[in-house]
Amino acid sequence: MKKITIVLLILFLLSPVFAIDNNKLLKQVDRNLNPESFESYRKLINIEPNGREKEFVLFTVKKGKDKIAALFISPASEKGRSTLRLDENMWLFIPNIGKPVRITSLQSVVGGVFNNADILRLDYAEEYNVVEIEDLGEEYLLHLKAKTNSVAYDKLKMWADKKKSLPKKIECLTEASMLIKTIYFKQIKDFGGGIVRPSVIETDSPLHQGYKSVMIFAGIKHREFKDEVFTLPFLPNLESLR
């Protein structure tokens, strides 16, 4: 009985250590995907079952844990639109309307399978806790649970490469474990400055059979910004950072 008590006590004392390690792994995945503060250029392509495609190019800036903004560079119909996310607050600035309007993470400013949460993504470790890690040999399977109910997906299942600590596939699930979409990370590329990460992200969804969206990164580099960049009055001036 005494032995069992000691074993249980050790397990109890070690459990937070495991939890910390789990979240450390997720933080490592985040850092390998991008620096905490960076700028990047991305092309988003929506592909329909009939082969029709529409492309969007975005310039993105991020600072710290909770600030990210993106500017549409093309196509012409979207040029000048910009989006800002401060923690859970999101806004869309449309030049003709001229003032930022609040949007939600579930909407999509580009249509297709990617929604605003995918486009203005904060670090996974900021929005999710690791509840379980499965060792699958060459990869880990991380089971993530949203910290709050304002996060776009309640649960994530992330398959991560053990050696590189980079995601290979993520399934986004509802609270009832219904699959909303699957995100695939492909074509690892050296962007310079120590950033080696997947350059192509694809997504599909059982809710949009036959549709696919692709995100291609052309440039990503560490860059520091002042907090004032991530404010509503600065949104119309994001272009000046390029």
Binding site: N50, F59, S74, P75, K79, L106, N149
Partner: protein, 431 residues
């Protein structure tokens, strides 16, 4: 028939060809930044108006014309945006050209919407001089606190509008904690015969400002305008997400010495002075099926009350009867010339509801948004209904079809407009 079949085969081959392009590429050379940029859109917008021959506004405008039950109008529009940016300076110009073919013939008009010179010595400080829109307010259909903007059309709230000549600056400061941002935006707006002449009383230097806070995840603005061209006014607005898919917003404006132009019994314009309170409350709600609901209530204290509108209609009636009896249209012409613009604005009365329901990409049709909009005048129970279809079949091409049906009894706002309905198609190409 054979040629049509061949055309569709070629289209399908083209589409299949596109789908075969599995490899997508993206290179930084594609997005090289240019100092000088130009863009805009070309638009073609035919409109069919279904006239209401019994309405007072029809009688005021078409009393001597035989236009039948419908009239068609063809609108061509070019919006041009050009900008030059170098270091801390930026110059921007926006022009709008309308060419219209209506029952009265061809007409054209080019307006300088914006012409702005900006200096940005730091990320926190921004100085603008020139013609620009200030775009105050959080409301979607109406903005009671947009003290220095031209009124929006609630049926076209996203339409580009002309600005005013101002000198303004933005000072931005960010913080950690519950108060995340403060921005101070003071401005000067001169009015004389040549500059901002439509704004109000000439030979005045108007001034005002706005302070914006992002506080407890809520956007809050406090603003004021003074200077003499229009009565001084004070306002505030806010916007906040109370849930990820549920936004609330509001505006409040107070004008202590508002002067309302009211048409008198002798058809001349008089003035009624009082303290005017205007406010707006609104919500935006997104369902799990991607349906967005906009709902707004407007209290337009600047607007007319029922008997003032009834008085106006009875004056048109008298003038029209006089014309029918004697053929003398001088009273109608006088009334048409002297009627204050406020009687013809988008919200001439005091209590309105706005509802818009839009469904993003139903049946998995990308870039297709059907929507339904209704504006309800609570004072006289008249309303408009606008179903709309918006689709972007190819990149940079946007097609829109909508019909607005106006309903209301005699003597009501929407019942007395010159149209019963308005059917419109819009094709817009961005470049």
């Amino acid at each position: 028939m054979r040629s049509i079949t061949l055309f569709f085969i070629l289209i399908n081959l083209f589409v299949l060809g596109l789908s075969a392009q599995e490899e997508h590429t993206f290179d930084l050379s594609e997005i090289e930044k240019k100092s000088f940029q130009i863009g805009g859109y070309l638009e073609f917008r035919p409109v069919l108006f279904g006239l209401d021959g019994d309405s007072w506004f029809y009688k005021l405008k078409f009393y001597d014309l035989e236009e039948g039950k419908t009239i068609a109008e063809y609108n061509f529009n070019v919006l041009l945006d050009a900008s030059y940016e170098k270091g801390i300076i930026k110059a921007k110009i926006r022009t709008n050209t309308d060419i219209t073919k209506s029952f009265s013939g061809w007409s054209h008009n080019t307006t300088l919407f914006e012409a702005l010179f900006s200096v940005k010595p730091s990320l926190s400080f921004h100085l603008d001089i020139g013609k620009k829109r200030m775009k105050w307010g959080k409301g979607y259909a109406w903005n009671p606190v947009a003290f220095i903007d031209r009124p929006k059309n609630p049926n076209e709230p996203e339409l580009a509008l002309e600005g005013y000549m101002v000198l303004s600056m933005d000072y931005i400061k960010s913080f950690q904690g519950r108060l995340k941002t403060i921005t101070f935006t003071p401005f000067l707006l001169p009015v004389n015969e040549h500059i901002n002449s439509t704004f109000g009383k000439p030979n005045q230097l108007n001034f005002g400002g706005k302070i914006y806070f992002l506080f407890y995840d809520t956007d809050i603005d406090l603003m004021f305008l003074s200077g003499g061209s229009v009565p001084a006014r004070y306002g505030m607005d806010f916007s906040r997400n109370i849930a990820p898919n549920f936004e609330i917003h509001g505006e409040f404006a107070y004008i202590p010495d508002y002067s309302k132009k009211v048409i008198q019994e002798d058809s001349t314009a008089g003035e009624d002075q009082y303290a005017s309170i205007n406010y707006l409350m609104g919500i935006r709600f997104l369902t799990k099926t991607n349906t967005t609901f906009f709902f707004e209530y407007l209290k337009n204290g600047n607007g007319y009350i029922s008997y003032e509108m009834e008085n106006f209609y009875s004056l048109i009636d008298q003038a029209y009867q006089s014309y029918l009896l004697s053929g003398d249209d001088s009273q109608l012409k006088f009334l048409s010339d002297t009627t204050p613009q406020a009687y013809r604005t988008f919200a001439p009365m005091q209590d309105y509801l706005y509802l818009r329901i839009s469904q993003k990409e139903p049946w998995n049709i990308l870039y297709f948004i059907p929507s339904f909009t209704s504006i309800f005048n609570l004072s006289d129970k008249s309303f408009s209904l606008t179903p709309e279809l918006l689709y972007s079949p190819i990149t940079n091409l946007e097609l829109r079809a909508k019909i607005t049906i106006l309903l209301g009894k005699g003597g009501s706002e929407f019942g007395e407009k010159q149209n019963d309905f308005r059917l419109e198609f819009r094709g817009r190409y961005y470049f």
